[in-house]
Each structure stands twice: as C-alpha cells, then as structure tokens.
C-alpha cells in the first residue's frame, strides 16, 4: 500500500469524511432531484447528470445523522462503484487531502451498525479525524434496506 493516499473530503453536519479520490467522478452543486416513491428513504431521488440518470443517496440518512433543514441544498459527489454510478448527497465539500497511511487506524470497536460497515477507518489528522468510507459497500441493497428499517426505528 502506498504511503500516501488522496481523499476527497466532505462534511456531514460537523463530521469529517473522505472517499478515495479515484472513485470520484465529479462534484456538482445541488441538483433538482425527482423523488422515488416507495424506495428506501436513503434514496433521495434521481438526478439528470447530462442525460444519464443517477440515483442520489443521502449519506445523512444512511449514517442516521438527522436530516438537514429543508432549505439546505446538499452537494452531489458523483462516485463510481462496482454497482454503478451514484451521487452522494453531502452538506459541504472539503479539500482533496493527501494523507499519510501511517496515520490510519481501524474504526474503534464501539462503532456499530451500518456505520461499522461503511466506515473503513480513520486517519488521525492534525486536530481532527478523517473518517473514510468504503463506498463499494454503500449500495448493496441489503444495506439500504437495513438502513430503511433503522430509519423507521429512529422515527418511531
């Protein structure tokens, strides 16, 4: 494994996340999306990415962080995964960071549930932690369904 890796970073609430930069196709501003009724609540809708229809996944809902206020317009990070192209809805976009792999650590055992599967590990940066995501795991339907149930539970 290379010593340095690059991550495209973003924020959900005040949490700091990163996905490997090679997986990211582009970052685009808020797009109007068409909601898909009956779909998992994690799926916020479909966006038109220059003629290609892309499914937008709300990372807040997936990670069970509370919803944004209604007028907050999330940013799309378009990523390539083994399951195809998806858009991740995030709050704010950060820089592309070059991190030293030596600062990597696996997630603590206290992390559980969906977050445990999605969060690959953390990079201990100056003053904060960068959580990296395994986006290939993100779009597995079983996971989406489970988060649907989890959402229901938190709602009720």
């Amino acid at each position: 494994m290379a010593d340095h890796r690059q991550f495209c970073t973003f924020f959900l609430d005040d949490r700091f996340f990163g996905v490997e930069v090679e997986k990211v196709q582009e970052v685009i501003r808020y797009q109007v999306f068409t909601p898909v009724p009956l779909a998992s609540p994690v799926i916020r809708g479909l966006i038109n990415l220059r003629g290609q229809i892309v499914t937008a996944i709300d990372l807040r809902r997936l990670l069970l962080i509370g919803d944004r206020t209604d007028d907050y317009r999330p940013i799309n990070i378009v990523v390539h995964t083994r399951q195809g192209t998806f858009s991740l809805l995030v709050d704010r976009i950060g820089d592309v960071l070059d991190v030293d792999h030596a600062s990597f650590e696996h997630p603590p055992d206290t992390l559980e549930g969906i977050a445990r599967e999605l969060i690959q590990g953390t990079y201990k940066l100056q003053g904060r932690l960068l959580l990296t995501m395994n986006i290939d795991k993100l779009f597995n339907p079983a996971l989406l369904n489970r988060s649907r149930e989890a959402t229901k539970k938190t709602e009720s």
């Binding site: 068409t34 009724p37 009956l38 779909a39 998992s40 038109n48 499914t55 399951q83 339907p141 989406l144």
Partner: protein, 809 residues
C-alpha cells in the same frame, strides 16, 4: 437476387472468415472444445441454410464436414492435422461454391465427391490420407507438380482439378518426404485426394477473399484458362473477369455491431431530449431566428431519429419466412391440410422485438395447427373446406405493430374451457358464474391450462399460452384473442415499434410527473369537482367508477405511491393491465410525449411499480409507471387468479406471480415461517393433556380418528438458539394450547404443531432467496420481514408413514 440468398451469402462469408482463424487456433490447441463447437455451429448453419435453399452439392459437402466435426466436438475423435487439412479443404470448396452461387444462383456442377469421401473416411477413424510432412514447401514442388499431375487440358479431367480450387494447385504440393518422388510421367496418375495432403494446401494459400472473383467452375473456358495460368511458374492468382457488372452482395451491405447501433440509438435519444428542451425554451423566447433554428433542429432530429430507428428495423418476414415450412411439417405430422396466408410481411419492427417475438409466434402457430384447425374429415362433415387456413397479418397502427394470427378452425368453446378450469381448480364455481364467455376464452392464458384432449408432441401440456403472454408482456406488448365457436380463433398482439423510445402520457401526481406508456392506455376521463363525490362509488370500501354501465375499479396513484393529493377534479386514466382494466386517478393530465426509456438503477429495481425513468424537456427526471406493477400492487390483477379453492399451490416454481394465501407461523428460534394454505385442511387447538402416544408418535383423537402430531421444531430442527425454554419430552409445551395445522383430508391427516400462528396473508409473493436448509423451499419477504417458505411437499413425504398409521386405525 433473392433476399434470403443475399443474406445467406453475407452470413456464410462471415462465418468462413472466422473459421480460418478458428482452425488455426485449433491446430495450436486441438483440445479446445469450445472452438470446435463454434466451428461445428458455423458449418451446421451453412449446411442447414443451403439445404433449405436447395444447394444440394453444397449441402452434401458441408454435411460430410459436419459429421466429422460433430464427432470431434463430442470428443469421440481426436483432432489431427489430417482432419484440419480435409476440413480446410472443405472450407475452400465451400467458398468456391458460394461465389458460384453469388454469380449464378446455383452452387455449380462440382460435387466434390472425393473430398466428401476423405471426410467420411476420417470420420470412420479409418486410414487417413497419406502421411503429412510439415508444410515447408521448397520452390521445387511447384515444378514437380507441374510436370506430373497437372492434367493436360485435353486429357479427361484429373481428380485434382475436381478436388481443389484449380488456381491454387501448383502452389500446394509439398514433397512427401518419406517417399521417393514419382517423377515418371507415365506412372498411373495418383488420385489427388491421396497425393495431396490437403491441409498443407490451404495452410499455405491465403483463402480467397469473398469478393474476389473465383473461377466459375461450371464454365469450361475459364477453367482452361486456370489450368494455363497454373502452368505458369509465377504463383499469381488468375484474375478472371467478374461475370456480371455491379457490386457483389458483400459490397452493398455492411454488417454493423448491434452494440454500435444501440449506442447510436442512445445518442439519438439524448438528442431528442436536448431537442425537447430547446423547443420548450424557444417557446418562451421571442427571437425569430432562434425559433427558426429550433424548428430546423426539430425536423432534423426527427428525421435522424427515424433513420437510426430504421437501421434496427427488420421486416417481420424475417421470422415469418420459416413459418410455412413449420406449418407444413406440423400439418403433415397430424394429418391435416393447412394453407398459410400472410399479409403485411414487410411490416418492420425493431430487431430486438423481432427476436423476442420469435418464440411466442411459433407457439401460437403450433397451437393453431394442433388445436385450432380440425382434422380434414371433421371439417368436411361440418361443411368447411378440407383445407384449413392460417392467416397471419401484420400492420402498423397508432405507433404500434399489430400482429394477428387467425385460424378458421374449431374456435374456443367457452363451456369446455369452463369445465376444464373448474376441474383443475383454476376458478371457483362462484367465480365461474360471474364470468362472460370472453372471460372463459381468456382462461387459456392461465398457467397450467390445456384443453387438448391428449398431449401431443406438439402441444397440449398446458405450459404454452401463459408463457406466450408473459413473453409478449415482457416487451411491453399486449395479447388478446377473439374466437367464435366453429369459425376459428384470432390472436391479436400489439407490441411497441421499439423499446427505446416510446410514446407516453405524462401525468402529475403529488407534484411529481410520471410517464405512462401509451400501449397500456385506453382512455381518459375527467370528472368535475361537483360530480366528483357522486362519481366514485364503493364496493365494500373498494372504489369503483361506472364506465358505460360497467364497474371500473379505481386506484389512486397518490395512495399507492404514498404521495399527497392536490387535485380537485377527478382525472381518471383508464389502463389495460393484462386482461384487466382499471382507472388510475391522477392529479393532472399533462400531455403525450415521446420519451426515452432509461433503466433504473439496480437498487431501485425491486420496486415493481416503475418501469424506468426518463428525462423531461425541462431536464428533470420523471419516473415511468409500470402499469402491470401498479395493478399488482393495487390487487387488480389478483382477481384473475382465483386463489380460494386452489389446490395448485406448490412451493417453488409457481411462487413468482401467483397470488398465494399463506399462513404465517413463528418458527423455532423466533423466525417466521410461511405455510401455503392450499393443502391445509383445518387449524385446530388441542389441550396438552389430550395428547396420547402411539408407539413413538404423539397422537390425539380427532373427529373419531387418530391424528398423528408432528412438531415443527422436529421437522426443521432447532437450529438457532432460542430464548424460550426448549420443550421437554412428552409434550410439555410452553403454550397452554397446542396449535396444530392439519394437513390432508379424510382419514389421512397429520397435524403439524407450531408454537404460534401469527397471521394469514394473501398476496403475490416473490421468492427472494434459495432454501438454506431442508424442509424449507426458499425465503421471501412478507410484511417487511424475511420469512421462510415451508416445503409442504417434502413434509408430507416425510410424514407419509404417519399418514398410513392414521389410515390403519
């Protein structure tokens, strides 16, 4: 030239070009079965087609080759170089004949008997042609062959001349290394088939390209010229002049990869969308130049779209062409006389649709021949002409392709269908009493339905029409039938012209736009605000609308999709879902539009109400409704499958689309288990102290008989840890009453004791996963929970001895 012959030539040339490479691959790796099989297929195709077209020489030769190849493919012979040689020899002969076909529409006079004999001999595993030395031809052989075996033009034709493409002979003769070369001119001529190791021949010579004029073997003059040119030392190919002017077939048509066409089609789809956007935008501008430009763009795009679509279009005759033959063979085998008539065979539709229609059409034809048209004697007796008629019509109407298959046979007898359906338990008597004749006729589309008195090898197993229907619906089509007793039956199929761009109705519901494919659309109804409340009536809380005196079930799209309604007027879109009509209430009806269908992502594909998505003129995405999916969700479709008295419920294969009634019970370890209610006769409760034992079996006295009891946890095994205390021996159950599910009838009964009965559900269930342990037929999701499906069949088999016990008492 005949279209079929042209196609045959292009196809065969292409096949042959690939074969050369494949033989080379094969020679490096003789064990390569896959390559062998693909060679076999190509040769087989050529053989099949030329047999059909009446090129008997060609057929005989390829047949011999095919025989050898089939043995090789099955591994009964080892691929040797001799075989490669002979087969390549055959390829070249085939090429020559093909060019003869191209020029003269016959396959020439040559029958290549020697080559056939060689192939046959190889097939027997018999003596191969003489030992082959490695083909390393020094220049001398040219001369030797020249001297020795090239026949004088005046002499009777030597075998070599017959066997090989004459132009190449001199190039090809390697010296048989082990034998002294025969140099005496007066030695008896050795047959070319023995003399020449044919393989080396063709490995040395590049195959004649398809478009190069090859010697027309039937004309004497060029043949002589060839021999002359062969006598020249320079190994040049003779350049015989093309017989007729005009480009050969392979020049005027090119083969294009279907993926490339698909890509073009996609791009045009994008262009259509961009065009829609520009046109929409232009409407709000007041710039005449922009308007003019956008109109031009509009026109060009439409034409381009049409053009691209046409590249994928093929006449329906492509699949119809084979039908007369099929009908003839079938008619002969059942002793009937049938004439086939076709109308509109030039009607074009998308290639993928043509492919998809092949099987359903063949099936309908077989059915018509086998069941539809009566035996000649019967026909005569009722005053019909002995010869039955099968009419196939195709035409375009309303942006769709209509296909009709009509026979003038016996027609469908509604009464007979009714009896049969009742007999098979497909409908209940109550339901039968409310059905119209047309409803009965449509029963033939149900799975497991067959009215044929006996199962023939053509049809009658009852797995036909439902498959036809499913296949047609899969491509967005609709099938219906008309029939008159004694007059015949007509099947009417409507399919879209193409799958990629479809006309659709755009509606709004809950503030979102949805597209409804027009193929499902029947009519639109608008009810004013004042009349709205009176218009919708209720049948036991199910809304209906009176449409010309008949009750139309109503489905609210907002409710089905959990959206919020906004409309004050009632907009009803009347839709056809399979055999059923229903009204879909939407907030607003916008307009019709050509939309480009884009598939949904995998994570969304398990939502059955959407068929895909499209991009609207304003650049936003709209979902395309799957009318069948909505009907299923709203339980419209379930009406057609009568489930009440169904004894057909068997786990596994039928799960996919059938409505089922399932009993949900808690399985050991707090899981959920679904038991099909079909085979269940009763649910009973017993006091634990009623349980007695007979030998090792727990039994209770039940209706004057002894009912053996089996516990679910014994059937499935208590695999998972459970929080509940495991029952001790002798029926110390934790519940005060024993819940037993009684299977079977009369005295042959068995009770399955379960911990708790949770619910009874009725729906279309789809098996999601395979069985993970014995006793389980699969897993599915019911009420949002993963549920295992109990395998009743295997359970009943397992408890068969107990049933016997019950019987004896």
């Amino acid at each position: 030239m005949d279209e079929i012959i042209k196609e045959f030539l292009t196809e065969s040339q292409e096949g042959l070009d690939q074969l050369d490479n494949k033989f080379v691959v094969l020679e490096q790796n003789p064990e390569d079965r896959e390559t062998l099989a693909s060679i076999f297929r190509t040769v087989h195709t050529i053989k099949g087609t030329c047999g059909f077209l009446g090129f008997s020489h060609l057929e005989k030769l390829t047949h011999a080759g095919e025989n050898l190849l089939s043995l090789l493919r099955d591994g009964r012979l080892r691929f040797t170089q001799d075989m490669a040689s002979a087969l390549l020899n055959m390829l070249d002969a085939v090429r020559i004949m093909l060019s003869a076909v191209e020029q003269t529409e016959t396959d020439g006079d040559q029958d290549y008997l020697d080559l056939i004999e060689v192939l046959n001999r190889l097939k027997e595993g018999g003596p191969a042609p003489p030992p082959v030395s490695k083909p390393a031809p020094p220049p001398e052989p040219v001369v030797q062959l020249d001297k020795r075996s090239l026949p004088d033009p005046d002499e009777p034709p030597a075998p070599a001349d017959e066997l090989l493409p004459p132009g190449s002979v001199f190039l090809l003769q390697p010296p048989p290394a082990s034998e002294p070369l025969p140099t005496e001119p007066d030695e008896p001529p050795i047959p070319a088939s023995e003399l020449l190791p044919p393989g080396s021949v063709f490995l040395l010579q590049p195959p004649p390209a398809a478009h190069e004029p090859s010697p027309p073997t039937r004309k004497p003059e060029p043949a002589t010229a060839l021999v002359e040119s062969a006598a020249k030392p320079a190994p040049e190919r003779p350049s015989a002049p093309p017989v007729a002017g005009g480009a050969s077939v392979t020049d005027t048509s090119i083969r294009v990869d279907v993926p490339l066409l698909d890509k073009l089609m996609n791009l045009v789809g994008e262009l259509v969308l961009a065009r829609n956007q520009i046109v929409e935008y232009t409407l709000i501008q007041e710039n005449p130049q922009l308007v003019a430009a956008s109109q031009r763009l509009n026109l060009i795009t439409s034409e381009l779209q049409e053009g691209i679509m046409r590249t994928r279009m093929q006449p329906i005759s492509n699949i119809w062409a084979k039908i007369p033959r099929v009908v003839r063979d079938l008619a002969l085998s059942c002793g009937k006389q049938i004439r086939v008539e076709m109308e509109g065979k030039e009607t074009e539709l998308d290639k993928s649709l043509i492919e998809a229609m092949k099987d359903p059409l063949t099936h309908l034809i077989r059915n018509a021949v086998d069941h539809g048209i009566e035996m000649p004697a019967v026909r005569q007796a009722i005053g019909k002409p002995e010869e039955g008629c099968l009419l196939m019509r195709a035409y375009h109407e309303g942006g769709q392709v209509h296909i009709e298959i009509a026979d003038n046979g016996a027609g469908l007898n509604p009464l007979k269908l009714r009896t049969k359906a009742l007999e098979k338990g497909l409908i209940t008597p109550e339901r039968a009493s409310t059905m119209s004749d047309q409803d009965f006729r449509r029963l033939i589309f149900l799975a497991g339905f067959s009215t044929a008195e006996k199962v023939t090898n053509i049809s009658g197993r009852g797995v036909g029409m439902d498959v036809v229907k499913t296949n047609i619906e899969k491509i967005g089509g609709v099938i219906d039938l008309e029939s008159e007793l004694g007059r015949g039956t007509t099947f009417k199929i409507r399919i879209p012209l193409t799958l990629a761009i479809v006309p659709a109705l755009i509606v709004t519901s809950g503030g979102e736009r949805f597209a409804i494919p027009q193929v499902n659309l029947l009519e639109l109804i608008r009810v004013n605000e004042e009349q709205r409340d009176a218009a919708v009536e209720y049948v036991h809380s199910h809304p209906v609308y009176r449409l010309r005196g008949k009750l139309l079930p109503i489905v609210y799209l907002n409710q089905e999709l959990h959206l919020t309604a906004t409309a004050r007027v009632l907009n009803i879109v009347v839709l056809q879902a399979g055999q059923h009509q229903f009204g879909l209430v939407v907030d607003q009806i916008n307009d019709t539009q050509e939309i480009v269908v884009k598939p949904l992502d995998k994570v969304l594909q398990d939502i059955p109400v959407f068929a895909g998505a499209t991009i609207m003129g304003d650049g936003r995405v709209a979902l395309i409704l799957d009318v069948l999916g909505i009907a299923q969700r709203a339980h419209i479709i379930s009406d057609s499958h009568d489930h009440g008295g169904s004894t057909q419920l068997q786990e596994g294969q039928n799960l996919k689309t059938e409505i089922q009634t399932l009993l949900l019970v808690r399985s050991p370890g707090n899981g959920r288990l679904a038991i099909p209610l079909g085979p269940v006769s009763r649910l009973e409760e017993f006091e634990p102290d009623q349980v007695e034992s007979a030998g090792e079996v727990d039994v209770v006295q039940y209706r004057g008989h002894i009912l053996p009891l089996v516990r679910l946890r014994d059937v499935l095994g208590d695999r998972r840890p459970t929080s509940r205390p495991a029952p001790t021996e002798n029926g110390a159950f934790t519940t005060p009453l024993l819940q037993a599910i009684v299977f079977g009838d009369g005295v042959r009964r068995v009770g399955l004791v379960v911990d708790e009965i949770l619910d009874i559900v009725q729906d279309v269930f789809e098996t999601k996963g395979r069985s993970t342990r014995p006793g389980i037929a699969g897993t599915l999701v019911i009420q949002g929970r993963v549920t295992e499906m109990f395998d009743v069949q295997s359970f009943l088999q397992r408890v068969a001895p107990l049933l016997a016990l019950a019987e004896e008492t």
